[in-house]
Symmetry: C2
Subunit: 414 residues, 2 copies
């Protein structure tokens, strides 16, 4: 007997028939003698619908009230799921965020879970019930206000519940079969990974492989929650996201990620003085623009070039702000290019292997792809290239590192 | 400065434009220096939509989960209303049932309010905010489960809040202009009453004049809450529902009510023995059929006739049950008529006036309408007649008692 937390996303509960199917699936698991906690998202499209309603009455809706509104999506899911469960003979019991003890801070719209008081959930499990928790929502422990965790928040709800309950596994059901070595739409030979470490998953997630919400992976890493990413629509095993020490395979690279949603900006001839970077990034940050990669090279003749990327949607706004900043700091000029992409290779194996980066650069060079910028972390190398070469680059890297073949990981403790 | 509780029904908040209009209306009141608590229903049609969804997944949905589902209707209303309020510059703050301290028992779907802990509402009012409370919902004080109060429950929420806050008045906004002497669709001269007593309102409500939920009137009577029933769509005064001693007018009859939703059943030749009535009504009640009027006359030759009414929708079921009962108790036969109507005259004035009933019988006789049964309470006389004469009877009674003219009530303390 195991204690299993399962999270089903909006597509998995998008419609009454799908809800029925998931209820049947949970029933099978419960009847096999497992204790099951189910975390649900809102039905597909519902959160967007509510958001549109709010924006129709106010262009910038109050965040507290918006959370009250958006929380109804998950509330409807859990109630309908439990009603459907009873129809198939499953004893399911819904809990809203405040009832499940999901206590958060008061940052409406992007609240952080501070504490999970799982007493009630434990009681219900002990009574033999399947507990169905509304994802995405919590309650401010000071005021009793409803809060929401932001997009993808139901993943975090599931992982937090799994941590609090010391669950054996947290299964995240989605519309893909797991985490792949790269996007199968670009590389048909992309291989589903049997296991991936938290660190790699974080890099994959933040680089645009949108399988898991990044905060849920951080949470899982912190509390050692084993995540199983898998498909609602098949029974095949998906990908386990686990601590690094549980990964025994010797692959250097686990995956190739790409991100086409950013634009590159370069300020040329920046005076190499203390405080200049602050002058550049303060107005950008005040405008709510999130800067990703920042690269500054050693200065030559007292000036340097500063390159960074911003979301494509913020590109024009950023360029406008920087034309002022440029003259203020006495820089030479601001150049920008919205038509770029970032391709990255990710793998904990590269820590102990020299030559990974140069192999990457060689593979790109062989295809005639120019590298605009390079930056690296301990388990990742990213290059900014011309956007039009994205697919070509991803295919070349996938091949160069032999990801389609892979080694079968030594499954030690599944 | 007054403390005013206002309740707006589903039609009043049915659509974003209407929500905006109500927000503007509340703003005017608040800017005049009043403290305002607004209680909202779900947007028109939403509760029915959710109910249909639930019934699609289970013919008889679990009551606890159904309440979780239905409560989202009011939750969406209050959030959208507050967002719209901010757009017109009104500082509104939503509270769900559990946040507003609406503590109920655990009878899902028809919970009774046990206690209103209005501390939070008071705090927010003191901060100069308009407090917007989700109607229809509460929280079980023992388990923390969401509960709903049943159809029309938002009226009760408003009256309970008004009682707890010792509000100056509880305004119930609806799509009619107040309480009329009778249905204006039948009698165009029907007059809007300026005042009506709780007792009369209870009789009117239970007899089919669906302006106010009957439980809200009982609540108001118990705690002396002054209710003002009025239209969302005009600024005209509606009808005050107040304690009897605040009514100074000398009219004998306040209104004529009718109810076409019942069917009459008569058991003839019932042996006049102890326990017979119980044998008749126990199977009826076990089948969930609500019996309204019961009339039994003095027995002749050791048998009597027993007449009662049931909802038209339960008529066939009741007749089926009674054919068995009839032979068990040795009664002669069961006769039934689904094509009947009940017409009633209501008025606290009739307590001190003889001849009211005979005037009623005379008015019906003058129109050639046969009276099938008669029953009376202290402030009401009801007759069952052939359904096809309903409108004729209502018009005749309205005229006979001079209701169109009326006396102007002596307004003592409006």
């Amino acid at each position: 007997m195991a204690l299993i937390v399962q999270k089903y996303g909006g597509t998995s509960v998008g419609g009454l028939n799908r809800i029925r199917r998931v209820a049947q699936k949970v029933k099978t698991l419960a009847e096999a003698g497992n204790q099951v906690v189910v975390v649900l998202s809102a039905m597909a499209g519902e959160t967007d619908r509510l958001l549109r309603l709010a924006q129709e009455v106010h262009p910038d809706p109050d965040e507290r009230e918006l959370d009250v509104l958006l929380a109804t999506g998950e509330q409807q899911s859990v109630a309908l799921f439990c009603i459907a469960s009873h129809a198939v003979g499953l004893d399911a019991h819904s809990l809203l965020g405040f009832q499940a003890g999901l206590l958060t801070n008061h940052r409406y719209g992007k609240a952080r879970i501070e504490l999970v008081d799982a007493l009630r959930v434990h009681e219900l499990l002990d009574q033999g019930k399947v507990v169905v928790v509304a994802g995405f929502q919590g309650v401010d422990e000071d005021t009793g206000d409803l809060t929401t965790l932001g997009r993808g928040g139901s993943d975090t709800t599931a992982v937090a519940m799994a941590a609090a309950l010391k669950a054996d596994v947290c299964e995240i059901y989605t519309d893909v079969e797991g985490v792949f070595t790269t996007d199968p739409n670009i590389v048909p030979e992309a291989r589903k990974l049997e296991r991936i470490s938290y660190e790699e998953m974080l890099e994959m997630a933040s680089l645009g492989a949108k399988v898991l919400d990044i905060r849920s992976v951080e949470f899982a890493a912190k509390f050692g929650v084993r995540i199983h990413v898998r498909s609602t629509f098949t029974d095949r095993e998906g990908t386990m996201v686990v601590p690094e020490e549980q990964i025994k395979e010797q692959l250097i690279i686990s995956g190739v990620a790409y991100n086409k949603n950013e634009a590159r900006i370069t300020i040329k001839g920046v005076p190499d003085q203390p405080g200049v970077a602050r002058k550049v990034f303060t107005p950008i940050s005040n405008a709510g623009i999130v800067v990703d990669v920042i690269i500054q090279n050693t200065s030559v003749d007292g000036t340097t070039d500063l390159t960074f990327t911003v979301p494509k949607t913020d590109y024009k706004k950023a360029m406008g702000l920087l034309s002022t900043v440029c003259s203020e700091i006495g820089a030479k000029e601001v150049l920008g290019d919205p038509n770029i992409a970032k391709v990255s290779i990710i793998g904990i194996g590269m820590r102990n292997h020299a030559g990974v980066a140069s192999k990457m650069f060689g593979a790109l060079a062989d295809e005639g792809i120019n590298i605009q910028t390079i930056n690296t972390s301990e388990i990742k190398v990213s290059c900014v290239i011309d956007e039009k070469y994205t697919e070509l680059a991803v295919r070349a890297l996938h091949k160069a590192f032999g990801l389609a073949e892979g080694l079968e990981p030594a499954a030690e403790d599944i």
